[in-house]
């Protein structure tokens, strides 16, 4: 069964067509990577799923129920983590989760139990300072906790890692990895390595349209027999590698030098541990 189903969705701002007739389904239990460059229309799509923006045409179904703008009925199935979640700075994390719990009608005991559990999961169990003193990473983690308080069937994360430092990014990805299987997650990003780490399905939004939709394993399978990744300790010239291959009568279709961004990132993670 699809937790989220989008059919022929379109949206324009003035003359600018942001979303052009897109359709896709997110099956239950999957972690769905929604990939696109900045300004590709990811946030717009997510806001329409949440009923925060009206669609020009097309339909959105969450757990089989149709989403309509302004009404927030389908949001009871959804947990939402905005790209930059905003809180009331004068509250403490436990108080904020209490507000969220009360709003969705949980009983006091339930709120206490679930808040404690969620704060532990996101690593904020011992933090009792007011939210105005939180770092961006802490706010993002609290954002995950508040999004999960209603035990949503669908967790929507809008670029949850884009604004974070590598450490904060790793934390969020670890948390999302932990809830994999319990909740269906749709996760928008332009950071492909994040998708590779936690997603099992993905769709690529490019120039207002879905240009690729597949499972990650299918994509990997397609490339499996063709590509070999080599990693060297020492600095090495790719020409040299190609020469060795050529000598052995092997002619690769494509040659890519080491991913500088990736190695910097792993270096950072290593020294910042």
């Amino acid at each position: 069964m699809s937790v989220l189903s989008i059919k022929g969705l379109s949206k324009s701002f003035g003359k600018n067509k942001v979303i052009n007739n897109i359709s896709f389904d997110v099956p239950e239990g999957s972690v769905f990577g929604f990939i696109g460059a900045n300004g590709a229309g990811k946030t717009t799509t997510m806001k329409m799923i949440l009923g925060l923006l009206p669609a020009d045409s097309g339909e959105i179904f969450v757990c089989g129920e149709k989403v309509s703008f302004g009404a927030t009925k389908t949001n009871r199935y959804i947990g939402y983590l905005p790209d930059v979640p905003e809180f009331y700075g004068y509250m403490r994390p436990m108080e904020y989760l209490r507000l969220c719990g009360e709003l969705i009608g949980l009983k006091s005991d339930e709120i206490n139990d679930r808040s404690a559990e969620l704060l532990k999961m996101v690593g904020l169990a011992d933090v009792n300072k007011k939210i105005k003193g939180f770092s961006r990473g802490m706010k993002q983690r609290l954002g995950v906790a508040q999004a999960l308080i209603n035990k949503p069937k669908l967790l929507i994360c809008d670029e949850p890692t884009s604004a974070l430092d590598p450490m904060g990014r790793k934390d969020i990805l670890d948390i999302l990895h932990e809830i994999k299987g319990k909740t269906t997650v749709i996760f928008s990003t332009h950071i492909l390595s994040d998708v590779e780490r936690i997603c099992d399905r993905l769709a690529v939004l490019h120039k207002s349209e879905i240009v690729l939709e597949s499972t990650l394993s299918d994509l990997k399978l397609e490339r499996k027999s063709r590509a070999i990744e080599l990693e060297f300790e020492d600095e090495i010239d790719s020409e040299e590698v190609l020469r060795v291959l050529k000598d052995g009568n092997l002619f690769p279709k494509k040659c890519e030098a080491a991913n500088v961004e990736m190695s910097l990132e792993s270096l950072y993670l290593e020294v910042a541990k």
Binding site: K47, L52, P85, E86, L99, L103, G105
Partner: protein, 255 residues
């Protein structure tokens, strides 16, 4: 109702922790104390000033009516200014900071936000107003125990109602413009327009601003309670319309 209670609790926590309640109550309380005090001391202060050539101003013996004159002019101006500043950000800050997104995406109904904001602001205003009224009342009764003021309860009510009207304007303009200054300036704008309209005697009777400005005429007996009924009806209707309009605007607003 569950949502309303939860959100209203948040509103009170906000008022306490951002010192909105304390500031508003303190400002109103100061004017509550100051009004009878000024009335009692003004003749002495002016009497002590030598205007030159030995000319000294002598004022008639102060009375309870002077104390209430001070009260209505202080609260009608500075008190209302305190209300406007306190509540300009109530709705606007939620928009400018984006703090409603998390709550609305949990399925909270939008009209709950408006109703809760209006309710909690009204309660704060009522508490602050009651406090300064009580203080002024006690002092006035202490200084001038034998003085009787006519129509006092209705005058108190009409100033309170005008405060409610301002709160409704602030919530509506805060929802419409989504910014602190938008709300603040719209409210000042509305007051200026009402003050200008008040120049025409035909409109005065219906003008909500007379609930704040004309209370002295009521106390001194120049006007009857019945003279204020049209303005009260207009004011109450305007509050209801503003709150409904706020909900309609908010329902169509992108957050």
């Amino acid at each position: 109702m569950i949502e309303f209670i939860a959100f209203t609790k948040k509103e009170y926590m906000e008022s306490l922790r951002t010192y909105r309640l304390v500031t508003l109550a303190a400002v109103l309380l100061v004017f509550g104390i100051l009004s009878p005090l000024t009335a009692a001391l003004l003749p002495e202060i002016l009497g002590a000033i030598d205007l030159g050539d030995g000319v000294v101003l002598t004022l008639p013996e102060p009375s309870a009516i002077d104390s209430w004159t001070q009260f209505f002019s202080n609260i009608g101006q500075m008190g209302m200014l305190a209300v406007i500043i306190s509540f300009s950000g109530s709705m606007a800050n939620e928009f400018s900071r984006g703090t409603l997104v998390n709550l609305l995406t949990k399925g909270m109904k939008r009209h709950v936000v408006i109703l809760s904001k209006f309710f909690s602001a009204s309660v704060l205003w009522t508490i602050g107003y009651a406090l300064c009224l009580a203080v002024c009342y006690v002092y006035t009764a202490y200084y001038w125990p034998s003085d009787v003021i006519t129509n006092a309860p209705f005058a108190f009510f009409s100033l309170w109602l005008f405060g409610e009207f301002l709160i409704a304007i602030l919530i509506f303009s805060g929802t419409l413009f989504g910014s602190f200054y938008g709300a603040l300036l719209s409210c000042f704008g509305a007051i200026v327009v009402m003050a200008l309209l008040n120049i025409s005697p035909a409109i005065q009777k219906f003008n909500p601003i007379s609930l704040s400005g004309d209370t002295l005429a009521l106390l001194s007996g120049h006007k009857e309670i019945a003279d204020f009924f049209p303005a009260v009806i207009i004011c109450v209707s305007a509050i209801v319309i503003l709150i409904i309009a706020s909900i309609l605007v908010f329902n169509k607003k992108k957050v």
